[in-house]
């Protein structure tokens, strides 16, 4: 099988092309183990006792439906160790999710967990054609965010030379690409578009003046049109990826060379798609909320996690020969989470911060805009009538305070505009909190 001269090669052929029946048998075996392991945690122990669930009685994959869903709220309520299924001294790393209110959700990993995670990231990268000898520039934030370190370890396992560039500093990114002949990049799609304007400013043509051939796009939902634009601008094959910290991070699912949906590694996760209202499973091909269960994570197993991401399973086999099912690119959220510059933000976070600031009135509005491939957040904030002292300096100070307070929480610097009380539009009496004007 080949596409554009690309012969399909597998990182782990047996697992990647395993017949469905065998793959499902493997899932069942691992599910049993994972559920049993989970019952060692405070949260699942109590939950299973409460609902009278016998972890020994899982006879088919269908039995997973007997286990209640796990929500982000459950993770928060059990912060930080309530989901731990091993003793703390077995842990070697923690990561956190962005975009939570108050305390960030923490995920802990044992060495085994890191190894398994690294393996599926390596498998994903290998699937797109990255090999030993490639130069991989990781333009994601290193740190608590899983995107940086997750890809880093995967690329190292593949054997590529990693440039751990981290995010930002566009001119240096371009310099590194040229100096060390980068062949693969990991980049947030909106940043890829923005970076192309810096290339233009510098008079560097990424198609001719770099060796780029692969771009891994992640941390932000984007359209097929955006992918094609990035491929055109950079002269690369761009691959979509999906992951979330609760399920490790990147590597949960990834596109193969056919770029027609992302294979979810079903030897690592059980995939369900549910109707977010009825919570019933929807058939393959129908859109719904993605629900995932970890099969190999020992430190902090999570069962039936509601991702709040909307997608559908693409029915039928993939030409690449892999039997792991594919999900379509993420269509949206079942909640109001926003993704801006790869950072997940909930409007409630902004609201909580704002309402703690003296001088802020009752209403606010979040406007997202895209200018020159750059995303911006504008926060319009009503000033409290009693607060106004007739002084412009006072208003400027209020605006600065709001900007700094928001930045400290959402990690993005919004443009804050103060507006008069009652100036913000309402729809049917309900405040319109978020206006997303971003288009491709």
């Amino acid at each position: 099988m080949s596409i554009g001269g690309f012969v399909t090669m597998y990182w782990e052929k047996e697992i990647e092309t395993m017949p469905r029946e065998k793959l499902e048998a493997l899932q069942l075996e691992r599910l049993r183990k994972s559920v049993k392991n989970a019952s060692a945690s405070y949260h699942y122990k109590n939950l299973f006792e409460k609902i009278g669930f016998d972890t020994e009685k899982i006879s088919s994959l269908e039995d997973i439906k007997k286990i209640p869903f796990t929500n982000k709220e459950d993770l928060r309520e059990n912060w930080p160790y309530g989901f731990l299924a091993v003793s703390k001294d077995e842990l070697v790393r923690m990561h956190s999710s962005s975009g939570t209110t108050g305390r960030a959700t923490i995920i802990f990993h044992t060495q085994h967990d890191i190894d398994e995670w690294t393996n599926i990231v390596a498998r994903s990268m290998y699937m797109t054609g990255m090999r030993r000898g490639d130069v991989f520039q990781n333009m994601m934030t290193y740190g608590l965010f899983t995107g940086g370190l997750g890809f880093h370890y995967g690329a190292e396992k593949v054997g590529a030379l990693i440039i751990p560039a981290g995010s930002g500093n566009s001119k240096r990114q371009i310099q590194l690409m040229q100096d060390f002949e980068t062949t693969a990049i990991h980049i947030i799609p909106s940043y890829a578009l923005h970076l192309s304007t810096i290339f233009e400013e510098l008079g560097v043509d990424p198609r001719k003046d770099t060796n780029l051939k692969i771009a891994f796009l992640g941390a932000e939902p984007h359209s097929e049109k955006t992918r094609q634009k990035i491929e055109d601008l950079y002269g690369v094959d761009a691959f979509n990826s999906y992951g979330l910290s609760e399920m490790n991070g990147p590597g949960v699912s990834f596109e193969c060379q056919y770029k027609n949906g992302m294979h979810i590694w079903e030897d690592n996760y059980i995939v369900e798609v549910i109707d977010p209202d009825t919570l019933e499973a929807v058939p393959d091909g129908e859109e719904g909320e993605l629900v995932l269960t970890t099969l190999l994570r020992e430190g902090m197993p999570i069962l039936r996690y509601r991702t709040k991401d909307l997608t559908r399973i693409i029915p039928g086999p993939c030409e690449c020969g892999r039997t792991h099912r594919r999900i379509e690119r993420i269509k949206g959220r079942t909640d109001d989470m926003l993704v801006l510059k790869g950072v997940n933000i909930f409007p409630i976070q902004i609201e909580k911060k704002l309402m703690d600031i003296e001088g802020v009135g009752t209403d606010y509005q979040i406007i997202l805009e895209r200018k020159d491939y750059n995303d911006h957040m504008i926060v319009k904030v009503e000033v409290h009538k009693e607060f106004f002292s007739g002084d412009l300096k006072q208003l400027e100070a209020l605006r600065r305070t709001i900007t700094e307070e928001l930045k400290s929480d959402i990690l993005i610097t919004p443009r804050v505009e103060l507006v008069e009380p009652k100036a913000l539009p309402k729809s049917e009496g309900k405040a319109v909190r978020v206006i997303d004007n971003r288009e491709d």
Binding site: V383, F388, D391, L392, L395, E396, V419, P421, K422
Partner: protein, 151 residues
């Protein structure tokens, strides 16, 4: 003596000032002086009017965010160096001017300089001690600002 300045918080966009002047016009309130300071998206309209309390009520009723603020309206000579005399005095006393604007009362004779300062009471005392006349709300209301009819 203390004068009252009307400060109005307004977004920096067409129509906001028009709303204010329309309300005041309808209420038959006379504007003696006006200054606007703005940041990029919002600003403050400062005004001296003949009846600040009534103006505040009328504007508030229309949903505007208003503050009535004490300012000092100093009578200065309308001639070269007239303003300088006042400002040098404030400087000598280390008083900071936060905002200011002026209008002519009687051409080449008298002008009024409205100042918002950081040490309000002390400034009033200093002005008094130095024989500078200040106007209160009532005096401002009665004052006949310069107009061309006098020529």
């Amino acid at each position: 003596m203390t004068a009252y300045q009307l400060s109005i918080f307004a977004e920096n966009k067409p129509g906001r000032l028009a709303k204010v002047t329309r309300i005041l016009g309808k209420e038959n309130i006379n504007i003696r002086a006006i200054s606007i300071s703005s940041s990029d998206a919002f600003g403050v309209i400062n005004m001296l009017v003949d009846d600040p309390e009534r103006a505040q009520k009328a504007l508030s009723k229309e949903g505007l965010t208003i503050n009535l603020k004490e300012v000092i309206a100093v009578v200065i000579e309308d001639k070269p160096g007239g303003l300088d005399k006042l400002i040098q005095l404030l400087y000598d006393e280390n008083i900071n001017v936060e905002n200011a604007y002026g209008f002519v009362l009687e051409s080449w004779k008298k002008a009024v300089f409205v100042v918002d300062v950081d040490q309000h009471e002390r400034t009033e005392e200093i002005l008094k001690k130095n024989g500078l006349e200040t106007l209160d709300a009532e005096a401002l209301s009665a004052a006949e600002p310069f107009h061309y009819m006098k020529y």
